[in-house]
């Protein structure tokens, strides 16, 4: 009897403990998601209270919209520029830093510094470094006889410029993730590989490091892809999608539609599309990490 009374008291307490969090999850996540879904079926705009259900018109509009296609294109092009660098450069630096003895911690700090900094503020610095007239980068280019580049004014260049800034801000982050993965590889595997004749660093990399790094590599690839799809800050501060929509990426378009033009219904459809992409990445990660984690 006493035990079940204690049990009941414990259950009551459990409900009390989860109550605040549960209510807030309801108000901040569940109800808004339902409203995003319902809203995406209406022509709701913030400026008028009158709205109608329009079925899947917003989605039809989205897939027929040149502006949407453009934003998607820009996002993918940017991701193609950004992702290989975010992955490969970080991995190379992690491997190189791991082999350092005396400089390891200072190098780690220097590479990680951009990650902690406020990107919105550093974007202003990058704007100056990449200034087409007197920027340090163009001046350096000139010194080496390279042509001056119009980093933010040229439609064909602007996504490269944004990708460079994003690389700068993420390399230290991915490097730390890779370092964690590298440190967890047992040393005796390298010794065993050396006995088998894998002496060359590249041999060691492909026979031991790369297979053992599988889960970490997957994690970095997925999370970097999500980061690429969430590009926003530098666009908002530096280009506002310009010149001529050349840097209007997906999240910035959704922001404009919702909070500049107040096309809430359409923006809700864009938001759900965005969520779909994120879920897709999460799914890929869940599938692969389950298979790869048991070594």
């Amino acid at each position: 009897m006493a035990a079940s009374k204690l049990q009941r008291a414990q259950t009551r307490l459990a409900y009390l403990l989860v109550l605040p969090a549960t209510l807030l999850i309801l108000v901040i996540y569940i109800i808004p998601i339902l409203f995003v879904f319902l809203g995406s079926l209406t022509d709701y705009t913030l400026v008028s209270d009158y709205y109608e259900f329009v079925g899947f018109e917003n989605y039809q509009k989205m897939f027929g919209d040149k502006v949407f296609a453009n934003a998607l294109n820009n996002t993918f092009f940017y991701a193609v520029l950004f992702l290989p660098g975010a992955f490969i450069i970080s991995l190379i630096i992690a491997i190189a830093i791991q082999e350092q003895k005396q400089f390891r911690s200072i190098l780690e700090v220097l590479y990680f510094l951009p990650v902690t900094s406020t990107l919105a503020a550093m974007a202003l610095v990058w704007a100056a470094l990449m200034d087409s007239g007197q920027g340090v980068i163009n001046n350096t280019f000139q010194l080496f006889g390279l042509p001056r580049v119009n980093w933010f004014g040229n439609e064909d260049v602007v996504l490269y410029s944004l990708a460079i800034i994003s690389l700068w801000s993420i390399i230290g982050f991915n490097m730390v993730l890779f370092l964690a993965g590298l440190t967890s590889i047992p040393k005796n595997l390298y010794e065993a590989a050396a006995l088998d004749g894998a002496d060359h660093p590249l041999d060691k990399f492909f026979r031991v490091t790369w297979p053992m790094l599988g889960p970490t590599a997957m994690f970095v690839a997925v999370t970097s892809s999500i980061t690429a799809f969430k590009l926003f800050d530098t666009v908002a501060i530096l280009t506002q999608g310009g010149p001529d929509r050349a840097s209007e990426v997906f999240l910035y378009l959704a922001f404009l539609e919702g909070f500049e033009y107040f096309n809430m219904g359409y923006s809700a459809a864009l938001s759900l599309f965005f969520l779909g992409i994120i879920f897709l990445f999460a799914l890929v990660q869940a599938l692969f990490s389950d298979r790869n984690v048991h070594y």
């Binding site: 414990q10 605040p20 969090a21 503020a121 908002a236």
Partner: protein, 290 residues
């Protein structure tokens, strides 16, 4: 071959083998790379101490030719509302963190150690919600705040973040590792569940709480998206949001502009330099940057 390299005579010229030369080159390249990573900060600090016309000078030098550091920083801190911006960022970040901990820790303990109906559904919801970024729910949250007339308030700036599903997940995993036998023994000794949380679980969870706190603080200090949506007046502007003003010629004194950029990014960078391990652990915890 392997035998020969083991002999002592081979050892002295080992140092000149390409392997160690390679190591020197690697170090040099790594430091060159580090220079690229750090250069924007050096340029920013250097420019923040220059007069306007020197910022874009063709022959760039790190040491300012005319030192205007004092004027620039004085201008930013005392003539422009940067103290207000920094204070707003502090209030919002601290407020968010405290409520996150107050809501997440009890829920995580219940999910980890107590049996109740619905716990599986709640935990499943928590996991699902982790994948939902603010960018998806921002429209209804914004409309809701407009309807209740709370736009441009600290409440609006904090509201979407006061429950962290990530914190609930993280702490639940952490608390599960706490031995049940100790909790049972404490119950037998007459500890209430609240006492168990405060006196046993919390002290053991300090590393996880510290790492999460860093993660939360840095994420919200650097957040541009949500303040851009809900903040309308300069008195509620956060330090990060204030950087948006410069796209519309807010200040044509470039030296002072970079002094303000330095002031905005300094708190996180300095805190990082003082607690490096904790920062690296905290920030990389989720894997998703920003």
């Amino acid at each position: 071959m392997a035998d020969i390299s083991q002999t002592p005579t081979a050892l002295w010229f080992d140092r000149f083998k390409p392997k160690s030369l390679g190591r020197v080159i690697t170090s040099v390249l790594l430091f060159l790379g580090a220079w690229v990573m750090v250069f924007p900060f050096i340029w920013m600090i250097s420019s923040s101490m220059k007069p306007t016309d020197e910022v874009y000078d063709a022959d760039f030098s790190i040491i300012p030719k005319t030192f205007k550091g004092f004027e620039n920083y004085y201008g930013v801190i005392f003539e422009q509302p940067y103290l207000v911006f920094l204070m707003n960022s502090m209030i919002v970040c601290i407020g968010i963190l405290i409520i996150q901990l107050l809501t997440a820790i009890p829920a995580a303990y219940a999910l980890a150690k107590l049996k109740f109906r619905g716990s599986t559904i709640l935990f499943g919801t928590v996991i699902a919600a982790i994948t939902i970024p603010i960018n998806v729910t921002s429209i209804p949250l914004y409309i809701g705040l407009v309807r209740v007339g709370l736009l441009d308030t600290y409440f609006a700036m904090m509201f979407p973040f006061i429950v962290s599903v990530f914190a609930i997940f993280l702490f639940r995993q952490f608390f599960r590792g706490f031995p049940d036998s100790i909790i049972q023994a404490a119950r037998v000794d007459g500890f209430s569940e609240i006492e168990i949380i405060l006196r046993l679980i919390l002290p053991s969870a300090v590393p996880a709480i510290a790492a999460f706190s860093v993660f939360s603080f840095v994420a919200h200090w650097n957040d541009l998206y949500w303040p851009l949506i809900v903040v309308q007046s300069q008195d509620k502007m956060t330090a990060t949001l204030s950087m948006m003003q410069y796209q519309s010629a807010f200040d044509t004194d470039y030296g002072r502009t970079y002094a303000s950029a330095t002031v905005v990014t300094a708190p996180m960078v300095i805190a990082f330099l003082f607690a490096r391990r904790l920062f690296i652990r905290g920030i990389t915890m989720t894997g998703v940057k920003g």
